[in-house]
Amino acid sequence: MGFHRINLTVNGEMEQVDVTGYMTLLDMLREKLVLTGTKNGCAAGECGACTVMMNGEPVNSCLVLAVECDQALIVTVEGLARDTQLDPIQKAIMDAGGVQCGYCTPGVLIASRALLDRNPDPSESEIRAALVGNLCRCTGYIRIIEGVQEAAKM
């Protein structure tokens, strides 16, 4: 079985990884780089738990092949905080009570960070639209939306 050598930057670190042609970005992150913060919820691009930033855009990492990530810049939930300093979106969603079981949280944080990067002052409906692909079964979304609004003010 053929392996492909790819070079990419993950959370600011240069990585060189050998992957099969069918390995997804999600599996590469979790299995090869042991970055298990990114979650597998459906492996079909429907739940958003595996959302990571690829070259600044949020993607479902279960739908991206690792071989497509050669030379890419990837940011996962583990890359949001600087040392012990949380990203404002992490702090705001935590403080708003937008975390319960925490399984959707990594994807929600990345999708929200990507929204705030391209639109620092989103309206409530823009926040809802940006998060529509991130399913959450615990919180009812209301506190997550509030958290994004708070983060925008920080």
Binding site: R30, V34, L35, T36, G37, T38, K39, N40, G41, C42, A43, A44, E46, C47, A49, T76, V77, E78, L80, A81, L86, Q90, K91, I93, M94, D95, G97, V99, Q100, C101, G102, Y103, C104, T105, P106, L109, E124, I127, R128, A129, L131, V132, G133, N134, L135, C136, R137, C138, T139, G140, Y141, I142, R143, I144, I145
Partner: protein
């Protein structure tokens, strides 16, 4: 259990979650995140393609010969039965399959792909049997028997299977005289509802990893609400000692009941026994998650209820046919719970209820948030609205008259404990602006308001127990050992708050010993029934008080003072008499010098505590009457305002209000988070969700075809109101609220739709299509 008001007390404050930082940084470890290295094997399961069939033969030889395959397992080596209340299933099917998805064989291989390939090589010959796909038909004598051996199964004493039938439990209420009460009724409503199967849809799929050590001991890592129940049930099924079965349970990515008891975990364990010490991982696909994990069982419910001209409820006659599916891990107790709560939160002098748990060839019904109460209230609370309207009484007033109050005679004959239901009703009605009809936002829309009440008791054995320990380190910091899980509801945070308050240390000093591990964590029955804050909370408080007592006794002796003059405040032992003080650090490990300085006393402090209710009486099997059926009822109310789009039938929930009597909110923000989250889950079940079954086959096992609420569906605001009428045996008066918040949502929405456009439905989901077609039929739109 009351701690002095003058001391700093974290109970009642909205302390930050203990687990939040781990969860926002990606550091929190869930089952699939645990690393096992290259020894790890991957399991896949061959499942029945038929709803009902006899297994004639299984040939696994080709699969076993596939390179990379380490074991192929069938039911042959596992004759034991498994089940929580009724032991009615094998780990793998042995002679019969009973639903599409029933496990027939398992493969462990060096990769998931090889395991998947091996499944294709297993040959199974079936003889197709006639399926039962309707619970009402299922109780009839014509229906094929799904479990002919039902009368030989082991069963809990309060579950009553009917031999030679598909009825796995039959619960009856006979209170008063229903038949003669109808003559005195000024109005009677009679309705039938169908509540569809739904899925819990935790975002984390089920996962289990099992490994057998050299001496035969088994370790299971899994996403679990019930590590101790899994230890017990799996050990029993394998015929091994419970002490040789260890369950480690890291964070759970959503449970809602689906990860309670045993579902797929025993499969991983059975396979692991055949692979010589290597760990075996079984991770369900999202498709498997939809129909091979537990589902919320379907319900066909008949209600008949009547009241006199003044609005007093006189009689109820209810019949429930629960579609429990192929096996009944929890279904039998849901049947019982819906029976002993079948009056809803109302005082009704004459009640006749027949609640049947019926085997069908459908996916297995498990417990889901509310365990039967959302399904039952869905119809009951619509009938209450209709009855009030029939006699021309306001629906809130009707509920005010009839709802249970302290001392009300319950449907099981006992008396209601103090409850804030009336306050919940009034506050919710006020919050939603009951009686004021606002203009619709557009000409093609109609606006409506609806309200519903609820009650729910923990559905559990009468003697479900909890235990806890509290240990202190050199720095005086505290670790609390619990066996109850944090599924996101915040139980670890609440346990830490209670321990801090009962011991006398700041909240920030307390951590919880995680992950749960049956080898080290104290026993807890299960994380179900919204029982942790109350039951585990009591155990934690008792453990903290025990530790406190040990510290104070040691100090009293060392200082030669009376115990009653000593206290622990903010992590310091203080004497109100001598005004001496000493920090907890060091003394909780090394003790203190004796008063005469000749030697030492004390030593490492570990407090222990337990709690088990001892007052629940049985119920008469013929009448369902008894002194105390349950430990307590949490009550509440919910209301919505919505708009119906006449052009599309689409429903928009504009806002919600809800009030629940939690006895005491240990952490008010966590309570509100439960009230909101439950509202949205209830709303999702009301508007979108149905696991569509056709001839026993699930039609929509994916997020595309099975839609749950998204960020674009939820209302802008839900007003969450906390009512606190203390529970006499709850810590600080607390009782549970986790499940309750989704119980009244379906009927509140249904009543609001009726208020808006005057149509009713025989069951959810109230999809745009269904609403539009019903309006068309009723002539409301053309």
């Amino acid at each position: 259990m009351v701690v002095s008001e003058t001391k700093p007390n974290p109970v009642g404050e909205s302390k930050p979650r203990l687990d939040a930082r781990e969860k926002v940084t990606g550091a929190a470890i869930f089952g699939d995140d645990i690393q096992f290295g290259n020894a790890l094997l991957h399991a896949r399961i061959l499942r029945s393609p038929h709803p009902h069939a006899r297994i004639i033969s299984i040939d696994t030889r080709q699969a076993e010969a596939l390179p990379g395959v380490k074991a192929v397992v069938t039911g042959k080596g596992f004759p034991g039965y498994i089940g929580l209340y009724l032991l009615d299933r094998h780990i793998f099917c042995r002679d019969r399959v009973r639903y599409v998805g029933d496990p027939v064989a398992g493969v462990a291989a060096i990769s998931e792909a090889i395991a998947e390939d091996a499944l294709e090589l297993i040959e199974v010959e079936y003889e197709i049997l006639k399926p039962v796909i309707d619970p009402e038909y299922g109780v009839s004598s014509e229906a094929t028997l799904i479990h002919p051996e039902l009368d030989q199964y082991q069963v809990a004493s309060f579950i009553l299977p009917q031999p030679n039938s598909n009825i796995s439990n039959y619960f009856k209420i006979r209170k008063g005289d229903v038949d003669s009460a109808w003559d005195n009724c000024a109005a009677i409503v009679e309705r039938k509802y169908r509540i569809p199967h739904i899925q819990h849809v935790p975002i984390e799929p089920h996962v289990a990893v099992a490994q057998v050590d050299a001496s035969g001991g088994i370790t299971l890592w899994g996403s679990s609400q019930s590590p101790f129940a899994q230890r017990n049930l799996i050990a029993q099924a394998l015929g091994i000692s419970q002490s040789d079965m260890r369950v480690i349970a890291p964070y759970v990515g959503g449970g809602f009941g689906s990860k309670a008891g045993v579902s797929m975990e025993s499969l991983a364990v059975a396979i692991a026994t055949k692979v010589k010490g290597r760990p075996v991982k079984l991770l369900l696909t999202r498709e498997e998650e939809f129909f091979t994990a537990f589902v919320r069982q379907g319900l066909i419910a008949y209600f008949k209820m009547g009241c006199d001209g003044d609005g007093n409820l006189l009689a109820m006659e209810n019949k429930f046919y629960w579609d429990s599916g192929a096996y009944t891990e929890y279904g039998v107790n849901i049947t019982r719970a819906s029976g002993y709560s079948s009056s809803g939160p109302y005082e009704v002098p004459n009640v006749k209820t027949d609640s049947y748990c019926v085997y069908t060839n459908h996916p297995v019904g498990g417990p889901m948030r509310g365990v039967g109460m959302p399904e039952m209230h869905a119809g009951l609370e619509q009938c209450i609205d209709e009855l009030a309207q029939q006699i021309g009484m306001d629906q809130v007033e009707f509920r005010r008259i009839n709802c249970v109050k302290e001392g009300s005679i319950l449907v099981t004959g006992g008396k209601m404990h103090p409850t804030g239901l009336l306050q919940c009703l009034e506050k919710t009605a006020e919050a939603i602006g009951w009686g004021h009809k606002a203009e619709a936002s557009a000409a093609n829309k109609r606006r409506g308001k609806g309200l519903a009440l609820m009650w729910k008791a923990p559905a559990m054995p009468p003697n479900a127990g909890s235990s806890a320990w509290v240990e202190l380190a050199e720095d005086g910091r505290v670790t609390v050992g619990v066996g109850g899980q944090d599924l996101g509801q915040g139980s670890f945070t609440v346990a830490a708050q209670m321990a801090a308050a009962a011991l006398g240390v700041p909240y920030e000093w307390v951590r919880v010993a995680t992950p749960l591990d049956t080898r080290y964590s104290p026993y807890e029955w299960q994380t179900v029934a919204s029982r942790l804050t109350w039951s585990m909370g009591n155990a934690v408080v008792n453990a903290a008080k025990d530790a406190r007592q040990q510290i104070l006794e040691m100090t009293a002796e060392a200082w030669d003072e009376d115990l009653e003059n000593l206290d622990i405040l903010n992590g310091m032992v203080v004497s109100y008499k001598s005004e001496r003080e000493i920090p907890l650090e060091n003394i909780v490990i090394y003790g203190l010098p004796k008063a005469d300085d000749q030697g030492w006393i004390g030593g490492p402090v570990i407090g222990r505590g337990k709690f088990m209710p001892d007052y629940v009486t049985g119920l008469d099997p013929e009448t369902g009457q008894g002194e105390r059926a349950v430990v307590h009822y949490t009550t509440g109310a919910q209301a919505v305002e919505l708009e119906v789009d006449l052009d599309t039938g689409q429903i928009e929930i504009l806002r919600g209000a809800a009030a629940f009597d939690v006895g005491k909110a240990i952490n008010p923000e966590l309570v509100r988070a439960q009230i909101e989250g439950g509202f949205v889950q209830g709303m999702s079940s009301a508007l979108f969700e149905s696991l569509n079954l056709k001839d026993g086959y699930v039609q929509n096992p994916s997020f595309v075809d099975y839609r749950i609420a998204t960020s674009s569906d939820v209302p802008g605001g839900i007003q969450s109101i906390i009512v606190e009428v203390p529970q006499d045996d709850g810590p600080w008066g607390a009782r549970g609220v986790g499940e309750h918040s989704m119980v009244p949502t379906i009927p509140a929405i249904a009543n609001a739709i009726y208020d808006a456009v005057g149509v009713r439905f025989d069951g959810p989901p109230f999809t745009a299509e269904k609403v539009y077609l019903t309006m068309l039929e009723a002539g409301i739109v053309k």
